[in-house]
Amino acid sequence: MQSKISIKDLDFFYGKAQALFDISLEIPEREVVAFIGPSGCGKSTFLRTLNRMNDTIPIASVKGQVIIDGKDIYAPGTDVVALRRKVGMVFQKSNPFPKSIFENVAYGIRINGIHSSKEDLNDRVEKALRDAALWDEVKDRLSMSAFGLSGGQQQRLCIARALAVQPDVILMDEPASALDPIATQKIEELVVELKKNYTIVIVTHNMQQAARVSDRTAFFMLGKLIEYNPTQKMFTNPDEKLTEDYITGRFG
């Protein structure tokens, strides 16, 4: 198994309070890894260590290593902007910019200077929207406000926006938790489609969603990684009793 991301002995602190304890985990390239666990278990915090999103919290500190493509992203001199371009993120609540559909996707391409011409920009926006399975629904109204889209479409627009800057890894923090079942199904189908080209890490409260979309599942509790196994094993015969109790609803 070729690891895209290797996490080694990771501790995480909010001030003096430790939120993650000694986590080591390998995330293979072009697989979907799901993080599950009760609220407050540290799964979202852990997800945010993978592109240094937690840097925005002044009292946060990290020990240990997160190695992506052979480089420790916490090493001094790391270009955090470049890191976040390479490791994109989609949040629970869709957060389009107050701009047109086109501009939402074009924005990242422009500020990163990825395009070579206006035509190239158009092509890149179209490709991102196609990859996010949104193109057919919006191609005739690209200049309209992104806020006119449905919740599910807005979330796919955010995925398109993340894809537009050509990341390798996409982190998704409960991307479908605010969506209805049909919109959720589209996001899940998209996740499965995207893993052909991207490595995806998804935090979800929906156990069935983790079971449906992921190749591997990591179960966290109280800031500790309790079990990490192929999803099929996790849901039919987990190694740890705590995992069994959680996925069968004995607590949570």
Binding site: M207, E244, G249
Partner: protein, 220 residues
């Protein structure tokens, strides 16, 4: 441990399959008793009660599907429901074999006794013991016991071979006994099949307990 909605349903499902197991076991024992003791009334009772067993099978099927659809069980819960759903039709088929033995008993009881049924009770006893142990192993989730029961299937297989040869010789030596001997041959075959089915149940017990598939492997 918190009480879950699914627990009540899994308990009910467990009760239902144990009742089915008990009814199946009784059917096999009674069918053999009807044959050995030449009791046609008892044989008819076995045939009548097969309808109840069929009904039990349907109820368990429906309940298993309902739990899968509505509760979406995982891990041990999932293995339990799957095992129950797979063991149920096996028990129903064992009961069908008991009915076939009862049918044969009714025919044979109208004919003069052609053979001292020494081997049959032994074979039937082995089958009944295996069935009981398989159901016990299911209840207690004892995969060790399940593996021991699987080994005993060989005892039934060798009894079957012995009975088969004896009945064949009887038919050759005494052509008048052919009809009765042929019915007895079927009875022996039914018992042999019951042994195979009990083995299948034990393989599912091992799946339930260890999440291991031992069917079609050297371990089975």
């Amino acid at each position: 441990m918190e009480h879950r909605i699914i627990d009540q349903q899994l308990d009910l499902l467990r009760d239902k399959i144990l009742l089915l197991g008990g009814a199946t076991e009784a059917a096999v024992n009674r069918a053999m008793q009807a044959l050995v003791e030449r009791d046609s009334e008892l044989a008819k009772k076995v045939l009548d009660e097969d309808k109840i067993i069929d009904q039990m099978e349907l109820e368990i099927d429906q309940m298993s599907i309902e739990i899968l659809a509505l509760q979406q069980p995982a891990a041990h819960d999932l293995r339990f429901v799957i095992s129950v759903a797979k063991i149920t039709p096996i028990l129903e088929r064992i009961a069908d074999h008991a009915s076939s033995i009862a049918d044969a008993a009714i025919v044979l009881n109208n004919e003069p006794q052609i053979k001292n049924y020494v081997d049959f009770p032994i074979m039937a006893k082995t089958a009944a013991e295996m069935l009981r142990s398989a159901l016990d192993a299911f209840t207690s989730e004892d995969s060790q016991l399940s593996r021991e029961v699987i080994k005993r299937d060989k005892e039934i297989d060798s009894s079957y071979k012995r009975v088969f040869n004896e009945l064949l010789e009887m038919m050759i030596d005494n052509p008048q006994s052919t009809t009765g001997a042929a019915h007895l041959l079927f009875v022996a075959k039914h018992l042999e099949r019951i042994g195979d089915y009990v083995k299948d149940i034990c393989e599912l017990n091992v799946y339930l307990t260890e999440a291991a598939f031992i069917k079609h492997s050297k371990h089975s």
